[in-house]
Structure formats: C-alpha cells, structure tokens
C-alpha cells in the first residue's frame, strides 16, 4: 500500500496524497487504490496551467472585471451595534495597495472553552478595551485660585470596569511626575507645583489628563461581544494582535485581525499572505461575485514574495519589476529612465510590456517557444 503511495509521491503534491490517505476506506484493495490514484493524477494534470499561459494578466482581468460591477462604499454591519467595516471596492483597493493605516481595523477574538459560553463576557470585553481617564470621570473642576484640578469619578462605571483608584492614581503619576495627588471619596485632586502655576498650564493639564491611558489594550477603541452559532466571541474596532494574544482566554488559533501588516509583523509573512487572500475573497463573496481563489493567491504571492508586504503600486510591486521600460510605462517615467541611465541599467526585454513597445513578439503563449538549430557560419 505504502509502496503505491510512494510511487505517486513525485507526481502528486503531498497535500493531495495525504487527503487521499485520510479519506479512503480502511480495507481497500490495491487495485482499487491504484485506480483512484490514477484518476486523481489525470484530474490533477488537467487542472495544471499550461506553460506560457499569462496567469498574471488573466488574474488581473479576472479580478478587475468584477471590480467594475462592485458597488462603491458599501458598509457591512457586524453584529447589532453600530460597528461598520469598509467593504466593497474601497476595501479591495486598501488591501491590494498595501495601505498601512486601514480605514476600519477590526478583530474577531474567539475565546477558549469555558470563556466562550457567555459568562462574564462583558467584563472580558471591557478588559480588552482601551480605557482613558475621561471615560470614568463624571466631572472636571478647575480651581484657578488654588491652581488645582478636581476630578470627580463615576463610581458605577468604575465598578463595571473593575477599576481601583490606586491604579488610576498610579497612571496619572507616571504621566505627570510633578503633580501632587490627593484622594478624597470619589474625588482625586491634582495640584500643580509652584513653577507651573500659570493659568494656561492648568487648562493644558486638564486636557491632557483626559486622555490618560488607564487599562486595556492600546488601539482597541470599541468592543462588542456577539453570539455566533453556539459560542460567544468579541469583535473589536481597532487592532492589537500582539497584546491580545497575551491573554490566556483568547483562542490563539482562530483569532482574526483584518490588519494585514499587523499579521505580517506578529505571525509572519505566510499568515499575511493567507490574510490577503481571505480578506479579498470575503469582499468579493460579499458582493455576490465569483472569482477563482487561485487568482487571489497569485496576487497575494506577488505582494508577499519579498518577505514584506508590497502593495500593487508604483512604490511596491511595480518598483520590483526588472525592466526599466516596464516600470517607465507605468507611472513617473522620467524618474525611472533617469535613474536607470545613472547606473547604466540593462533591459533584457524578458517581459510583456517592453516587447509590446518594441513591437516584438511577447514571450507568452505562441511567442514563448524558440527554435533551437545550428546556424551555419559562412
């Protein structure tokens, strides 16, 4: 049995062979297995792309054509609350251009077994959310005469978030070292020292302390626990994959972020490649369009081939093109030609665009094969 598989190992990819191994009945006879493998091989070869096929261009057309039918600026609402996510063409452009700051960063945090049953889910969610001082304060009082600020806290909110006054005092202290703090009931009083007694300074400090970070994860501005199927999960606006993975209630395998650069940084380029495919495919399916996933794989491969994410722009993928003429024919031609002339770049005319410019057969399809013959020297 294993011998037979060994024979096909070179002809079929490992994944296919493993799939067959998993799915065949236990007591299959050799002749039948051979039939299966033979049939698989035929099908596999059928699906292979012919040499010289212009896969890149076909991918571009296959993604570009449905793109013209896409509805612009559609927002997809995740869950009940008003959390929306960029979808449609703007999202695809965002991904393929390799934009670092995306419009609506978002995470879907799946939870581990006991936590995903919904118990205390709100508290878990709030512990992830980035909380600033102003969110737990009910009133700021500025005393100009005494040059002090009284911060009155909302005890109910603090209890909900499980906050302690000492923690808040600590974080204020780390941000403003010269300020004297005193606590009385639900009020913390900040007193400026003598040097900074100026009137303006008082207001500046008041504005600054509003944004003091108290707890949660930086970058996550909104949390939303929702029920999906039989389990609960948390959807967040804003991403911080690295910090979220540190929590032990988070299911580290299923967690999703839509920030591709973050994925590349935290999980590596292969994960980012998969994320590009998933994100683009999600948009295309959402629009009710049908694009073969292999086209997206090719695009994602091109974007990630160098180890970092390169957008399909003149600063990204196009910059990597070997041909000067191909680069010049895209955008900013003068820049490319001058730079090429400075270092004496050579264009070997190996790709499509340059050959079209020179009106030579393009090296794809029928233009690819060459004739090998001995030339008689006379």
């Amino acid at each position: 049995m294993n011998k037979l598989f060994k024979k096909y190992e070179k002809k079929l990819p490992l994944k296919v062979i493993n799939d067959i191994k998993e799915n065949i009945p236990k007591n299959i006879n050799e002749a039948k297995l051979k039939k299966i493998l033979e049939k698989t091989l035929i099908e596999y070869n059928k699906m292979l792309v012919q040499p010289g096929e212009s896969v890149g261009l076909v991918s571009a057309e296959s993604i570009g054509e449905p793109g013209t039918q896409m509805t612009l600026n559609t927002f997809h609402f995740a869950g009940v609350a008003e959390m929306n996510i960029t979808m449609g063409l703007p999202r695809i452009i965002e991904i393929l251009d390799g934009k670092k700051a995306i419009q609506t960063p978002m995470m879907e945090i799946y939870l581990k077994k006991p936590y995903n049953q919904g118990k205390n889910i709100k508290k878990l969610a709030l512990s992830i959310k980035e909380t600033t001082l102003k969110e737990v304060v009910s009133e700021f009082m500025v005393d100009i005469a005494e040059s002090k600020i009284e911060v009155i806290f909302d005890e109910k909110k603090m209890k909900n978030m499980g906050l302690e006054y000492s923690a808040i005092q600590k974080s204020i202290k780390t941000n403003f070292k010269e300020i004297a703090l005193s606590k009385k009931g639900n009020t913390i009083t900040l007193k400026l020292n003598e040097k900074e007694k100026e009137f303006n300074q008082l207001f500046k400090v008041k504005e600054k302390i509003k944004d003091i970070y108290i707890q949660g994860i930086k970058g996550i501005t909104q949390v939303l626990p929702i029920k999906k199927g039989s389990e609960f999960l948390i959807i967040t606006a804003g991403t911080n994959l690295k910090k979220v993975l540190e929590f032990d209630f988070v299911d580290k395998i299923r967690i999703i972020s839509n920030n591709i650069f973050e994925i590349a940084n935290v999980l590596g380029i292969e994960a980012a490649r998969q994320a590009i495919i998933n994100e683009v495919y999600k948009v295309i399916q959402n629009q009710g369009l049908n694009v073969d996933i292999r086209h997206l794989m090719l695009v994602a491969d091109t974007m990630c081939a160098t180890g970092t994410i390169k957008g399909v722009t003149r600063y990204g993928v196009v910059k990597e093109k070997a041909s000067v003429l191909a680069r010049a024919s895209f955008e900013t031609p003068i820049k490319h030609i001058f730079n090429a002339s400075l270092i004496g770049e050579v264009d070997h005319l190996n790709s499509v665009v340059e050959n079209v410019m020179l009106n030579q057969p393009v090296p794809v399809g029928t233009g690819l094969p060459g004739l090998v013959t001995k030339v008689k020297r006379s």
């Binding site: 003068i334 030609i337 002339s341 410019m357």
Partner: protein, 600 residues
C-alpha cells in the same frame, strides 16, 4: 431680531421677520419694489433671504387672497380682447414670479377646485410646471418623469424646419425634414408655441410586435414602401468655405483652377466640375475628393530666391474638396467679401438623406430606437382591413420603461386619424383614455386598439391580436451617413508614423491598452505583433554605440555618424514609435544603447 440677507450678504436685522416679509411682498405686488425680487423667510433658521440677482429659476403663479384668486373673469375677458397683456397682470400684482426659495413660503393650489383659505397661490395651469419642450410630450402625466425628460430631450434633436429662410442661409450641419406633419395628438403648447407651423415629425402607423428579431434591443423595423412615400426623408446641407487670404510680401491666395505644376496637385478628374473662375457650378453632382473651390496658396516658407520666382510650381494647392465618404449636389454658390475685405466663396452642398439601416427614430416618449431592418411592404404584416404598419415597435421596450403615454398616444392617434380631428394630450388636462376607447369602438374598431393581423410573408393569421395605432414619430439628427467609418489602409501621422485618429482624417480604430491585454491573455503573441505592425520600421543599428546608423541606399553604404565606417552595422525591425522614444531620450541627455543579439 432676525438677520436679513440680500443676495447672500448680510444687510441688517428686523424685529418681526414674518411681518417684514409680508410687507415686502405687498409692496412688490403694488409695484413699489421690483417684480424681479424674491423674499424668503426661513422659519427654521430664523432669517430672511432676499434675492434679485441673475440666474434664479422662477415661474409665474396667480396670487390668491382669502381663498380666492385675484385673477378674475374680467381680467380674462380683457386679455382675450387684447386690452391688457400678460405683463400688465404682473404689474397689477395679479400674477407674480416665485423662485425656488420663495416657493418654500408659498402654498400653491394645483387647480381652482383645490383652493382653500390657507392657499397663497394658484397654478396658471398645471402645464406651467414643465418647460416648453416637456409640454410638447402628450399624455405626459401617464409616464415616469425620467422618460418624459428623455422624450423632451429627444425632441430637440428631431429634424424639422429650424428656420423658414433656410434656403438662403449658410449654416453648418443643417437638416430639414422634407414632409413634416402636424401631430394628431397634441397639447395646447403645440398651438401656442407655433409648433404646428414648423412641425418636426410625421404621423405614422405603428404596430407593437416583434418582427423576426430585427427589432430587439430598441431597434425598429420600417416599411420600405413608407420610405419610398417619403417617411423620414430629409435634406442635409453643408457649406464649403474658401477665403482669399493675404500674406506678407503682397502674396495672396488665388481662387482658380490650379495649374498642373502646383505642389500637391490632385488628379485631373477631381477638378472636372470647376468653372473658369475656379468655383463649382450649381447642381453639380459631387462625390468624395471632388474639388468644390479651386485655390492655390503661396509657399509657406520663402527663401531668398523664391521671392523672385513666383512660378506656379512654387505655389501650394489648397483647394476645398469633399471629404472622404461625402457626396451631394451643389445647392448654390455665394461670392462675397469677408469682414477683412478678402474675397470669400461659400458653396452650399445638399444631400438627400433617405432613412437607412441604423438611422435613429423616436416617438415623443423617450422611446428612441434605430432602424434594424427595412422590409418590403409585401412582407410586412397587415390587418384584416389591409393596413400595413409603417414601423414595427418592439413590445419589450414598454414594461421596464413604463411609458404608458406612448401606448395611449397610439390609441389617441388612431381615433384622431379615423375621426379627422386633433386629440388633446395636454399634461394633466388630457382627453380621458376611456373616452378615446369608446370613440374607437363606435368607429368600428376594437376598443383596446388591437386588431387581427396576418403574417406578411406566409399570409397566416397571427394567433394573438396586435396592438396597432397612429403615433407621431420623429427622425433624429444622428444618421449613419454622418458616422459610418472603417479603414484598412490610410493616412499616418508625420511624427509617430502611426495611423491618424478620427473619422474626418480617415483614421484607424485604436486597439487600446485593454484590447491588447486580451491578446496577451490568449497567448496570441504573434497576432498581437501583427496588429501593432502599423508603424513597423527596419533601421540600421551601430553595434559599437548602439544608436541608429545611416544607410546610404544610392552608394549602398552603411556607416555610423558617431563611429564611422569600420563598425558592424545590422538592421533591426522595431516600431517607429520606439525609435522616436529613443530619440526623445537622447534629447533628454540619456544614451539609450541597443545591444543586438542574434535572435536564432
């Protein structure tokens, strides 16, 4: 206090804005304040906007006081007797013009019956809501607004008679419909606007059915016999103009039959229609390339020798000739002077345009279509009484566009034609459809407008009754004869050696970037090369410096202007546009070096 703005600029404040606005209006009606001023009190924001600037859209309304219009029977009688005019009514404050802003403060009654105490204005007529062109659409209140405005836009492109003195005018691009008719189904605006004195369409019999698929996708099938009887026949006029310009050094253009020695002389037969004075004679039948006005110009650049050598051989041919694909008959010749005092020749050429495949026709309801097939009358379907339609309209044009007015006009036209009267289709004031149907029934037809019809080819009766009636159709100015264009070989541009662009220059049809991509995607590499061979050139390249070398064909000598004789020079085949790019790079001080390699 409410702020008051005049044309958007702050001018002051008033204590009681509502009273202030009302007072302004009263004074305007009295004629103390200009009738062109509009005032609007914005209750939500609490300010007053006064405008009297240009460009506001305004419309007339009858002023209403205590639920009664100020316009009385007395006014109307006087109007009819021509004792007072419309502008008198405005001066008296009976009628006033409101702009979009002041309309917000008004409460306008649609008709007199609707008037209540709270109304401030009354429509002159519901028809006044729309413009002139839109009011020419009959039964417009039965169709979606979008279709009505398309219909009114289409009417502007219809051929008719734009001016009575067209035979003596010299206008560009003129179309005259030869036998225009007054529409059977009209609105009052047809009479008021004198449309009936210069109509721009014809009443024709239209059957709503399909005809062998030749009227799918908004096409129409036309009866050949109808065309022979003059349906949609128009005349196209175009002037040819030549001016004897004066140049420096006392040189002038000369209008005459060009001498054979002239630079750029065409073939002799192109000049055959010219008379002695170099101008064509009226009623000459001209085809493409025929010269209409013979003209020669002095040479463009005078060298010192040329100044004394004004032999005809140095002059340039600059005649006015019919362009590629054009034809016609010379209508009349006008010899006059331009504003600079130069002799000016204008020749008007006329061309009869008989409807052909691809010409555009439309009803007045945004139901435009192009001719898909011209059928012999013998093959057209016919009714039991022997009527054959002039035009067959596809029923698929109706459901998605919902132009019910088109269908009602078919019935209305039928009733009007049978009972020899005009049908009133004025917006919101139409002859009711019920009445038309009853009349049709009394005339001996089915009240739904359908008739038993027979297949013109086989003579078999159709299984269903066909909706057939009379409707006003117009020929639009977009005609195939003005647009048809194809090219295999032809002129090229001097700079790039690529084909010229556009029909006027007999240009090529561009195979664009995306079309190119489809060839690449198919892997049809060599076909792609062939398609782009239009500017193919073979040039010698110096292997030493990689730049274009020189081939002296007379001495059969190859040399490089940089490296001299003793270098290897080989020919390569590239597009001329790339050679141009290399030259342009050189002018940018970039040295593009071609490194040659044996292809095989």
């Amino acid at each position: 206090m409410s702020e008051v703005y005049l044309n958007g600029k702050f001018v002051g404040a008033v204590e009681n804005p509502a009273e202030f606005t009302e007072n302004v209006r009263i004074e305007r009606r009295k004629g103390i304040i200009s009738e062109n001023l509009n005032i609007y009190y914005d209750k939500a924001i609490g300010n007053v906007q006064i405008s009297d600037n240009k460009g506001r859209l305004r419309r007339p309304l009858i002023v209403v006081k205590d639920g009664q219009p100020i316009l009385t029977e007395d006014h109307i009688k006087k109007l009819q007797k021509n004792e007072i005019s419309f502008s008198d009514l405005i001066k008296q404050g009976v009628i006033e013009y409101l702009d979009a802003a002041e309309e917000e403060n008004a409460f306008i009654a649609f008709s007199r019956e609707d008037l209540t105490k709270v109304h401030t204005h009354l429509e002159l007529t519901p028809l006044a809501m729309v413009g002139l062109c839109t009011s020419l659409v009959p039964y417009a209140n039965f169709s979606p607004g979008a279709r009505i405005s398309i219909g009114s836009k289409n009417q502007k492109q219809a051929l008719g008679m734009y001016a009575i003195n067209f035979p003596i005018r010299m206008d560009m691009d003129v179309n005259i419909l030869q036998t225009p008719q007054i529409p059977i189904v009209q609105s009052v605006m047809h009479e008021v606007s004198n449309y009936n004195k210069h109509p721009s369409g014809q009443n024709i019999v239209v059957a709503v059915m399909s005809y062998k698929g030749y009227n799918v996708e908004d096409a129409v099938v036309i009866n050949k016999a109808s065309i022979d009887r003059g349906l949609g026949r128009s005349t196209y006029y175009r002037p040819a103009i030549a001016e004897e310009l004066r140049y420096s050094g006392g040189l002038t253009d000369e209008i005459s039959i060009p001498d054979k020695d002239v630079k750029g002389y065409k073939s002799e037969k192109d000049y055959k229609f010219l008379e002695k004075d170099g101008i064509i004679s009226p009623e000459a039948k001209v085809k493409e390339d025929n010269v209409i006005i013979g003209k020669t110009s002095p040479p463009r650049f005078l060298s010192s020798m040329d100044q004394y050598n004004l032999a005809p051989s140095s002059r340039r041919e600059s005649s006015v000739a019919l362009k590629h694909g054009e034809q016609g008959i010379v209508d009349f010749v006008l010899i006059t002077e331009s504003s600079e005092g130069n002799r000016l020749i204008q020749v008007k050429i006329r061309d009869q345009r008989i409807p052909e495949l691809g010409d555009k026709f439309t009803s007045r309801h945004g139901q435009k279509g192009v001719v898909g097939l011209i059928v012999d009358q013998a093959d057209m379907p016919f009714t039991a009484s022997g009527i054959t339609p002039d035009l067959i309209f596809s029923p698929h044009g109706i459901p998605s566009r919902m132009t019910i007015s088109h269908l009602i006009e078919l019935i209305g036209g039928k009733v009007g034609a049978l009972s020899s009267r005009y049908i009133d289709g004025t917006l919101f004031d139409v002859e009711p459809e019920e009445k038309l149907r009853k009349e049709l029934l009394s005339l001996g037809f089915r009240e739904d407008g359908c008739e038993t019809m027979y297949n013109g080819v086989t003579g078999e009766q159709f299984e269903v009754n066909i909706f057939i009636g009379d409707i006003y159709y117009m020929k639009l100015k977009h005609m195939v004869a003005n647009k048809i264009h194809a090219r295999a070989r032809g002129p090229i541009q001097l700079l790039t050696r690529q084909p010229t662009e556009g029909r006027a220059k007999e240009g090529g049809l561009r195979l664009g970037e995306m079309e190119k991509d489809t060839f690449v995607a198919h892997g049809a590499s060599l076909l792609l090369k062939e398609r782009f061979d239009a500017d193919r050139t073979v040039i010698p390249i110096c292997e030493e410096c990689g730049m274009v070398a020189i081939h002296d064909k007379f001495k059969n000598r190859l040399f490089c202007s940089v490296c001299g004789d003793n270098v290897e020079i080989n020919f390569i085949e590239i597009s001329y546009a790339f050679k141009l790019l290399l030259d342009e790079l050189k002018s940018l001080t970039v040295h593009p070096k071609l490194v040659l390699k044996n292809k095989y």
